[in-house]
């Protein structure tokens, strides 16, 4: 019970901090002081109290987009195990639901973007839909590999139970998997080199351009939902890439929090030292990551 409570508190409170850490890391690389670590919290709080402007073109769907995105992120966060603790809801097959929930969010985000009738946002929607078609198979390849390795069909047992013992035997396939999942983590969360979360006004944007017309609480929902998605997918990635367990239940939470913050630093470093890819390169990288994951599968299918 205590652990479930900690789980819920962490997923509700920690996500914006990751954005803060990423921002601070990037500021460090740029030689700036940067915004405080807690800036994303202030931003969300400020947005929640602001008024909203709705375009006359839009319908209820425009408002449904952010709401569904956030609800999906919250639901998915209850399915993902954190650190060495299983998730509040865990059952055989939960990984399929986990993956499809994000599909639901994507549907409504893109629909909300199209609702504005702006060609700019349509462009972002088209890119989002296209790239995630290519990213989706990778996630499922990873799930197949994990199911095959662990002999389990639930995220909690698949990721927490045996992964430490699996590393020595199946290191090659897990390394391939970690590599491809890191690419997916960056692509799905709209980070550099796939997307730039900082600017709206470039024709090469994906996520930010879709939410261009949202304001006030709606935009707050979007920011919060995006942070939570980063948190949830980051936790998924960490299980494979950083399978260290302390043994003590409470120490495990500490290890997890530190690992998440480290991940945020790594993402910040990647964002600082890499330029954004040209749009035509993105599908190629995504397909390459799918093939990496397929290699991982071949290795475990013997």
């Amino acid at each position: 019970m205590t652990h479930i409570l900690i789980h819920i508190l962490l997923v509700l409170l920690m996500p914006p901090l990751l954005l803060g850490v990423i921002g601070k890391t990037k500021a460090f690389f740029a030689g700036r002081v940067g915004a405080p670590y807690l800036q994303p919290y202030y931003d969300i709080w400020k947005l929640m109290r602001k008024g909203s402007v709705f375009s006359e073109t839009t319908t209820w769907l425009f408002r449904a987009g952010p709401i569904v995105t956030l609800s999906v992120a919250v639901t998915a966060s209850l399915l993902i195990p954190l650190g060495n603790h299983s998730a509040p809801f865990s059952f055989a097959g939960d990984m399929i639901l986990f993956a499809y929930l994000f599909g639901l969010a994507r549907f409504f985000t893109v629909a909300a973007a199209l609702d504005t009738g702006s060609s700019f946002e349509g462009m972002g929607g088209a890119r989002e839909a296209t790239f995630s078609c290519l990213a989706e198979p990778t996630l499922f390849f990873a799930l197949v590999v994990l199911a095959r390795l662990s002999g389990s069909l639930s995220l909690s047992t698949m990721l927490t139970g045996s992964i430490t013992t699996l590393w020595p035997d199946s290191a090659p396939s897990l390394i391939l998997l970690a590599g491809s999942l890191f690419i997916i983590l960056l692509a799905e969360n709209c980070r550099v080199p796939f997307d730039d979360p900082n600017t709206h006004l470039e024709l090469t944007m994906i996520h930010e351009v879709m939410v261009l017309d949202h304001s006030g609480p709606a935009f707050g929902y979007i920011l919060y939902g995006a942070a939570m998605k980063l948190f949830v997918l980051g936790a998924f990635f960490l299980h494979i890439a950083f399978p260290f367990k302390a043994g003590d239940p409470f120490l495990d939470w500490g290890v997890f929090i530190i690992a998440m913050l480290l991940l945020a630093v790594v993402i910040g470093i990647v964002e600082s030292i890499m330029a954004r890819l040209r749009m035509v390169r993105i599908p190629q990288i995504l397909v390459a990551s799918t093939i990496l994951a397929a290699f991982a599968l071949v290795l475990v299918l013997r």
Binding site: T75, F141, V144, A218
Partner: protein
């Protein structure tokens, strides 16, 4: 005598006669249409009751008809497998029939008659237990379908679509003749063999498998046998398209399932072949769908995709039978059954929604619509429900059936290693990709049709559909939600059908309700809905409590944006079409940009039906030239044709003795 079978037959008969009063000139056209709808509804209610009764009670019965034809006794039977399809037939026929009141002018009287005949023959197809009787019902179905499909007008496209359909369906029927002839040779009678009564290893079984796959696959529209399907669905009246896509093509699936159920000892390659065919159909179907501009053609390609998903489930089940894995059988076939029902529900919902949109905007071109969610709020919500469901997203019904199929694949991979494991493992990411592409496609359709600003005057004048059109859509949308949230209720119905299909499963063995975490799906679906509602309330409070402004969409400083500058469905799909250009062969005409100040130009892009237009038609043309000398035999002189028949009979007699 009140039994499930008698209810089902009464239902079919009521549907069959429903159109007759309307044909009588003494009865006014409107009254005739009302009577037809009333009779179809009565028939649908009776038939649904019979089907549900048979499925819930796991009841099987057969009735023998006395006929003097020399093909053995004609049997009509009802078992849970037939009942599953009957349920679909009656529910969708009822909905489409009501929709017709608002959609179809009553003055065109013929349609109601053939619509009733079509529903009746569909029911007879799934109840036939004798090869010849089956073919009879099959042929009535095919012809009635041809007539309703071409009732939309005499335009060249409709005629062309009808012709292609007619040729395709008869090639399929030809394969079915061969199929039942081989059956007759193998079993000695036209009667259907008992379930799992035939050994699948000897050669005739392979021949049966291949002819069934061809004949029934042609009806179901499995790639590359789908060539008739897109244009037929696009050119039929919308409620007919709904019935065709939701139910008629499922008869191909029924035929395959029924044929497979006759065999025991099924070799592994059957399952692998069906699974691979499913993956190809699914991926190619959705990729072609993305490139379409015509809303109904697009939906038709999605039927091919969903038939592919159903085939993937069937393939998994056959692999499970071959490798002795009951949980794979139960999950695969359970998923396929549920997807048959689900696709019937959401696809007819989408076709009916498309019909309303076409009615309102006067065009089938998605790029000429836009902004219809304002004048048509209910249609928009119903269409959205169908769109989310067909993408397989929670918490609607499409998710549940795809979940079962996924879960089957995962279960199959976890258990040991066989020759089928790699293909099962590949099926999972393929299904994921199908899901992702379907999402891109439906967000495009929904966005371009209902959201943004109207692109043409026709779309701007759009109006909400009438109640007879909204009510069936509402019912179907509600079913999508109910099955999605409470899948255990639906699988309770499927359980006996699974046993009827695979009698090899032990009675107390694996059940779908135990094999799949259905109560968890219910729980999480309810949780998702609750969280969404909570956030909605919070959001409303926040928005209501603060200042609120209205403005146009931000246009990035552009001075004079217009509705035609919105991202259209073609622009939305452009990246994906380019990614798959090798397969889609898009035909683009771009204006050449020469001077510093280029003049106005036209851009157009079109994706042909590649298999038909670039492979089959050229091939047929070539063989037409090659075989033109044989043409002399076909001269149109009747008496000589009769002579041919006589000579053929004589030759056969000589050969037989």
């Amino acid at each position: 005598m009140l039994t499930p079978g008698s209810l089902a037959i009464t239902g079919a008969a009521l549907c069959g006669i429903s159109g007759i009063p309307g044909l009588c000139p003494a009865i006014s056209a409107r009254l005739g249409q009302r009577i037809a709808v009333f009779l179809v509804l009565a028939g649908a209610a009776t038939g649904t009751a019979g089907a549900l009764w048979s499925m819930l009670g796991n009841l099987t019965e057969t009735w023998t008809l006395d006929w003097t034809l020399p093909f053995g006794t004609a049997e009509i039977g009802l078992d849970p497998l037939s009942a599953l399809f009957l349920l679909l037939i009656f529910v969708v026929s009822g909905c489409c029939s009501v929709y017709g009141i608002g959609y179809w002018p009553a003055e065109k009287r013929g349609l109601a008659f053939f619509f009733g005949l079509l529903s009746c023959s569909l029911a007879l197809v799934v109840m036939a237990r004798n090869g010849v009787f089956f073919l009879l019902a099959w042929e009535i179905m095919a012809l009635a379908n041809y007539i309703v499909l071409t009732s939309g007008g005499d335009s060249p496209e409709v005629c062309e679509a009808g012709r292609t359909y007619l040729v395709a369906t008869h090639i399929g029927t030809l394969a079915l003749f061969a199929l039942f002839a081989i059956f007759k040779v193998t079993t000695g009678s036209f009667q259907f063999p008992v379930a799992a009564g035939l050994d699948a290893s000897p050669l005739p079984a392979t021949a049966i498998f291949m002819t069934a796959l061809f004949g029934f696959g042609l009806k179901a529209g499995i790639m590359p046998l789908h060539v008739w399907l897109p244009s037929a669905h696009a050119n039929a009246p919308s409620h007919i398209s709904a019935l065709m896509s939701g139910v008629v093509i499922k008869m191909g699936i029924y035929g395959l399932l029924r044929t497979f159920s006759f065999f025991n000892n099924i070799p592994l390659w059957w399952g692998i072949l069906i699974l691979v065919a499913g993956i190809i159909s699914g991926l190619a179907g959705v990729i072609f769908a993305i490139a379409q501009h015509d809303i109904k053609r697009l939906l038709a390609y999605h039927s091919i995709e969903n038939i592919g998903i159903i085939a993937m489930g069937i393939g998994a089940a056959l692999i499970g039978e071959a490798t002795g894995s009951p949980s794979l059988v139960v999950l695969g076939i359970g998923g396929a059954f549920l997807h048959v029902l689900n696709h019937g529900i959401f696809k007819s919902l989408l076709f009916l929604g498309a019909g309303s949109v076409i009615h309102a905007s006067g065009t089938r071109e998605i790029d000429r619509m836009g902004g219809l969610a304002r004048p048509m709020p209910y249609t928009a919500v119903f269409f959205l429900t169908g769109a989310v469901a067909i993408c397989g997203l929670p918490p609607l019904n499409g998710f549940v059936s795809e979940f079962l199929i996924y879960f089957g694949f995962f279960t199959g991979i976890r258990e040991g290693f066989s020759k089928a494991t790699p293909i099962l493992a590949l099926a999972i990411p393929s299904l994921a990709m199908i899901g992702g592409l379907a999402l891109a496609c439906f967000v495009k359709v929904f966005g371009a049709t209902f959201l943004g600003l109207p692109r043409t005057d026709g779309a701007a004048r759009g109006h909400e559909a009438g109640r007879p059109m909204l009510a069936p859509m509402g019912l179907l949308a509600l079913l999508c939600l109910l099955i999605g949230v409470f899948p255990a209720a639906a699988t309770r119905l499927l359980e006996p059908a699974i046993r009827a299909w695979a009698p090899g499963l032990s009675e107390e063995g694996t059940r779908l309700a135990q094999a799949a975490p259905l109560s968890w799906i219910t729980l999480l679906a309810l949780l998702l809905i609750t969280i969404t509602l909570a956030f909605t309330i919070l959001f409303k409070r926040r928005v209501a409590g603060a200042a609120r402004g209205k403005a146009g969409t931000w246009d990035c400083g552009y001075a004079n944006p217009s509705a035609s500058m919105q991202y259209s469905s073609s622009s939305f799909a452009e990246m994906l079409v380019r990614l798959f250009a090798t397969m889609l062969r898009p035909d683009c005409h771009k204006p050449a940009l020469r001077d510093l100040f280029p003049k106005g130009g036209r851009f157009s892009s079109h994706v042909p039906e590649v298999v038909l237009e670039l492979i089959m038609v050229p091939w047929f043309m070539k063989s037409d030239v090659k075989f033109s000398s044989i043409r002399r035999l076909q001269h149109g002189q009747l008496h000589l044709y009769i002579l041919y028949v006589f000579l053929a009979l004589l030759a056969l007699l000589a050969w037989a003795t």
